[in-house]
């Protein structure tokens, strides 16, 4: 049996000080990257786009201000201010300029921005008008698709306004041969090009762009070497002086060459991680299997006795801290959906190797230790679980779960490996998977997965069935007939499927338009040189250079749609207690619970449109009066009683999440209405679509755009999160909920599913508690669940944190696919987390 070094390592004294420094003030927006990028673009106006991108990257690398923060052992910061962010006008900029004056005050993820930064960015933005990926994407989209986005059926916002990210590159390759080695590879491929080749122009330019980018990364590291040397000269503290000298030495060697020791491997890793995010603004750039590719250096250094295990741990802890130094400013609406300043840098430990042998090692345990020491939202830490996972590894992971960090997330090899093979990965590649971002599996260094391509709100097509394809007075979808004319459940369900199919095609249309815009305007040579087979094929990942290509948009609201359709089936067609017309009225009137401002405005828009069509114009005051009028509308007592009766009837219909086979298998079928049509579509990179079933935290803001649903959910309240049951509807405890969720077909949702459970710490107390917890995870996975994650905090703690955020600055909760600082989340999201059923107490 394999033996591991599992003993706890004490927390280095340096770590709390690094963290303190990082969190001293509100994160800040800086302009240097945008200014340098634009300078370069203006000088390369008529050159091929790939060369322009490489030159701009090089210009940034040569001139962006650099800093070594106090006591750092691993260096490389994208901004001078801790946790600051750069901006990326080549993707979009208008939202930022519009939010200049509110971004500091907003509730989700505020950023400080100085007046001179605003001015610098305003100047730069003049250049970008009409040149961004988002503008080109809009031009490529079908008008119907844009209309559906405007009506919130789905939102492709992520890549519409930002870089793609969502990738794991070949860190192992950079660690082994450095960028000099990669440059050499590019030069070798260049030598093979013949001027008569059909793709000579694009291929040679791409390879030249790779060479420029590799040189740029080396230049950047050398600037740090010079800075470290000069700081060492001025340093009085002998120990720190020695550290700075070694830092300089490290930066001279890596990432230019292969790493000579564990410290250099850590430094080399960091430059790759940091620079990928400076090349484009994508998030979810995921370190992946850190315990695997770092192990040879650990072996060489630590097991041979050149470095203590304690110091190796300290270096890893430093990386964990640095992962929180990177940041990104999103537009206000997206910030709600991705709340928590999260970059979703998913790092995973454990699991099997490409030969199917368990690959857990000492570093897997040290990854858990680092998360315990640093206790911050990044990295999004995950563990792989399979039948051969060492028990002590899972117990150690459970200890981390018990701390309440909301990490790790647990992933099931036994479901994910076959589901990836079903998408065409080889057995070896599938076994070597890691997780991108929240829950999306892929093979590192070979995949362009577009894993977070859109959010698709499965509740909205249900509304379209009731409205015959009309939304806010506009026909935006297929007319599937008046519900009063539907005489069987099958007819109704069929109409739902028709609405789904129509909208899914539009979702694909918008994603493909964005895909092409990225290819034409923002190809990424630096990223592409670390993904196979880009260099061999002579194409960037944006042009289909990766071995595996996917597009993975997320559906969410499974629980609501299941409970809704099931209630209609029972109450309307089997028990005949209400008619579809009654239901329609109840939904339109929000079950008589009154209208909030959103519903009132929506109804007002209808009225105003019809008035305008008669040629009348309305002043703002008149419009406001209409809204007020609607908000004050009284529902008659009789109607109110009727609606309440309906709500009571709905309450008694069985719900998804309670281990009731008929409902759960129905949920499986409902999930197919999204997952199955989607997999028939292709993307422009030659790959296929694959569905995910998770909402990040978008279930709250997108729920706010959804009217009342037939499961009794009131208008504009959150929809259910991931594949989890609706909040508070699962009343039979965690095993029952897990059994229900495991009835879904997780294999077909190969872009990932997300199942949240919340535990009171008492459920994990003592050794017995840890054992039971591990067995709960194991059993859910025995039944072919794919992913599981946990919040371990008690309700009172959360309520108190809401009241006294100052005292809970470091309180971390797991929100959907990632951990976030609770106090930085918006009030509504905080409420949602509190509302989720508290299990196990």
């Amino acid at each position: 049996m394999k033996k591991f070094q599992t003993a706890d390592i004490p927390k280095p004294e340096r770590i709390p000080r690094l963290i303190e420094h990082l969190y001293e003030k509100m994160p800040e927006i800086e302009a240097s990257r945008a200014v340098l990028l634009t300078e370069s673009y203006m000088q390369t106006e008529n050159e091929p786009m790939i060369i322009r991108r490489a030159k701009a990257f090089a210009h940034v690398m040569e001139q962006i201000p650099i800093i070594i923060r106090d006591e750092e052992l691993i260096v490389g910061s994208s901004t001078i201010a801790p946790r600051g962010c750069q901006t990326y006008p080549e993707f979009s900029f208008e939202w930022l300029e519009a939010e200049f004056d509110t971004v500091e005050k907003r509730s989700a993820d505020p950023f400080y921005i100085a007046e001179n930064t605003k001015e610098a960015l305003r100047q730069v933005h003049k250049y970008w008008k009409g040149k961004t990926t988002s503008e080109l994407a809009t031009a490529y989209m079908a008008p119907e698709a844009i209309r559906s986005i405007d009506h919130n059926i789905f939102t492709p916002g992520n890549y519409f306004y930002n870089g793609v990210g969502h990738v794991t590159v070949q860190y192992d390759k950079v660690l082994a041969v450095g960028f000099e080695g990669i440059k050499k590879e590019a030069e070798d491929y260049l030598a093979l090009c013949s001027p008569g080749d059909a793709d000579y122009a694009t291929r040679t330019h791409f390879l030249e762009a790779v060479i420029i980018s590799c040189d740029a990364a080396i230049t950047y590291a050398n600037r740090y070497a010079v800075l470290a040397d000069s700081m060492a000269q001025k340093e009085n503290d002998a120990k720190r002086k020695e550290e700075l000298i070694q830092i300089a030495k490290n930066c001279r060697r890596v990432p230019a060459e292969g790493a000579g020791c564990f410290w250099q491997a850590c430094q080399s890793f960091w430059f790759v991680q940091q620079l990928l995010q400076l090349e484009s603004s994508g998030h979810s750039i995921s370190p992946g299997r850190f315990d695997q590719y770092m192990y040879p250096y650990y072996e060489k250094c630590v097991l041979k006795g050149d470095m203590t295990r304690e110091f190796a741990q300290e270096l890893m802890d430093c990386i964990w801290v640095k992962l929180n130094d990177l940041n990104k400013c999103r537009d206000a609406a997206s910030a709600e959906g991705f709340a928590g300043y999260s970059l979703f840098q998913n790092l995973i430990a454990g699991g099997q190797n490409k030969d199917g042998v368990d690959a857990t090692n000492d570093l897997s345990f040290m990854c858990i230790q680092a998360s315990k020491h640093v206790f911050l939202p990044q990295p999004s830490f995950s563990v792989r679980v399979w039948n051969g996972s060492p028990h002590e590894f899972l117990l150690k992971a459970a200890e981390l779960t018990r701390t309440g960090l909301g990490q790790p997330a647990y992933y099931n090899d036994e479901v994910i490996i076959p589901s990836l093979m079903n998408r065409g990965l080889t057995l070896e590649d599938a076994r070597d998977y890691n997780i991108i971002g929240c829950v999306e599996p892929q093979k590192a260094g070979k995949t362009e997965g577009w894993h977070d391509a859109a959010f698709f709100n499965m509740c909205r097509p249900l509304e379209l069935v009731f409205s015959n394809g009309v939304d806010k007075g506009e026909q935006i979808s297929v007319a599937t007939g008046e519900v009063s004319q539907m005489h069987s459940f099958e007819e109704f369900y069929d109409a739902y499927k028709k609405q789904m199919n129509y909208q899914i095609a539009l979702l694909v249309n918008s994603d493909n338009a964005i895909d092409i815009a990225h290819k034409e305007r923002c190809p990424l040579p630096f990223l592409s040189c670390m993904v196979d087979d880009c260099m061999k094929r002579g194409r960037t990942v944006q042009e289909g250079g990766a071995v595996y290509n996917f597009t993975g948009p997320q559906g969410f609201g499974i629980a609501n749609v299941t409970d809704s359709l099931y209630a209609i089936k029972k109450l309307v067609f089997e028990e005949k207690k209400v008619t579809l017309d009654d239901y329609k009225k109840a939904l339109e009137n929000n079950y008589g619970q009154g209208f909030d401002e959103i519903s009132a405005s929506e109804m007002a828009v209808d009225i105003i449109r019809s008035l305008q069509s008669t040629g009348r114009t309305l002043s703002e005051e008149e419009i406001a009066a209409v809204v007020r009028e609607i908000m004050n509308l009284k529902v008659s007592e009789e109607d109110k009683r009727k609606y309440q009766q309906l709500l009571d009837e709905i309450e008694n219909v069985p719900k998804y999440g309670n281990d009731i086979e008929s409902v759960d298998l129905f949920a499986r079928d409902v999930a197919y209405t999204y997952t199955k049509p989607l997999e028939t579509f292709k993307n422009p990179r030659g790959g296929t679509y694959q569905a995910g079933l998770y909402p990040v935290s978008a279930n709250v803001p997108l729920g706010a755009q959804t009217g009342a649903t037939p499961d009794g959910r009131l208008a504009h309240t959150p929809v259910a999160d991931g594949v989890s049951p609706s909040a508070g509807k699962d009343v039979n405890g965690p095993t029952a909920a897990a059994n229900s969720v495991s009835k879904l077909d997780h294999g077909i949702a190969s872009n990932g599913t997300l199942f949240n459970q919340k535990f009171h710490p008492s459920a994990l107390s003592g050794e017995q508690g840890l054992e039971n917890f591990v067995n709960l995870v194991r059993t859910y996975f025995d039944q072919k669940g794919s992913h599981m994650q946990f919040n371990v905090v008690d309700r009172n703690t959360l309520l108190d944190a809401q009241k006294n955020p100052e005292q809970y600055k470091h309180l971390v909760v797991r929100v959907a696919g990632y951990s976030a600082l609770f106090t930085t989340l918006s009030k509504s999201l905080q409420d949602d987390i509190i509302r989720r059923t508290e299990q196990g107490f």
Partner: protein, 263 residues
């Protein structure tokens, strides 16, 4: 398969129970009890009658008559969890032994399906009732609350003679794994001396090597209001952790038993 049709009265089934016997378990609560312990956190379990209790402002019917087969349908649902964790079915109450045939047939049905069995009980019943369940019982979680006859009578409504005698008989039978559990109730039995006496007794039982000290909690208090009853222990606070540790140390000092705080 007659045993599957046996009827009994329960008031709850709770899945994912992790503090009552080994592993992940499903607890079936049988209705009706002989004792009236003042600290009881399930006062709705005491009467055999079907009752109405107010829960969060709504009237809830407590108690339903079911067959063994109906109960097993729910118990079976978590079988994969039992297999992984070494868990299974636990009978609780009330006092299960007040429905001896039903209790026996539930345990029997579980054993026939290969599911581990446990029972929480005060052993306050004729030994003949206990003998019925023993062949199907893997773990007997037996409550011993006090060694003093009068104090026992005062706080629970019954003296302790029968239970102590039954404890000796169950231990001597060697048919089940016997674990002694002590609810630690301030003002009733929370002194070192009182706990030590129970530990000594438990230590004298053949085959017993484990004792659980269960600290008093007030989570059942609202139910007394819901049943329109007065809660007699008002104002009594749960024992401090340090005190529980002291009691544990006392047990370990004065007996050879393995002692754990909590179930």
């Amino acid at each position: 398969m007659d045993y599957l049709t046996t009827k009994g009265r329960i008031f709850d089934i709770q899945r994912y129970s992790i503090h009552d016997g080994p592993g992940i378990r499903t607890i079936v609560f049988l209705k009706g009890c002989v004792l009236r312990c003042q600290w009881c956190c399930n006062p709705e379990s005491q009467s055999y009658d079907i009752q109405t209790m107010m829960v969060q402002g709504k009237a809830k019917v407590i108690g339903r008559d079911v067959t063994v087969e109906e109960v097993m349908e729910t118990v079976e649902k978590d079988r994969p969890y039992y297999r992984r964790s070494g868990g299974g079915l636990t009978l609780s109450g009330g006092e299960s032994l007040l429905q001896p045939e039903f209790a026996r047939d539930l345990l029997k049905a579980a054993k026939k399906s290969g599911i581990n069995t446990a029972m929480e009980s005060m052993a306050c019943a004729p030994y003949a009732s206990i003998e019925k369940v023993l062949p199907y019982l893997d773990v007997y979680l037996m409550d011993i609350k006090h060694m003093n006859r009068e104090k026992h009578q005062m706080f629970t409504g019954k003296p302790n003679d029968l239970m102590l005698e039954n404890a000796r008989k169950v231990a001597a039978s060697g048919m089940t794994r016997l674990v002694i559990r002590v609810p630690v109730i301030p003002t009733f039995n929370d002194t070192e001396e009182e706990i030590r006496q129970i530990a000594r007794f438990a230590d004298s039982l053949p085959g017993v090597d484990k004792i659980h000290l269960l600290p008093y909690h007030r989570l059942g208090q609202d139910k007394y209001d819901g049943l329109n009853r007065k809660y007699l222990l008002n104002g009594i606070l749960p024992p401090e952790n340090e005190h529980m540790e002291r009691l544990k140390a006392a047990v370990m000092r004065h007996s050879s038993l393995n002692c754990q705080i909590g179930g």
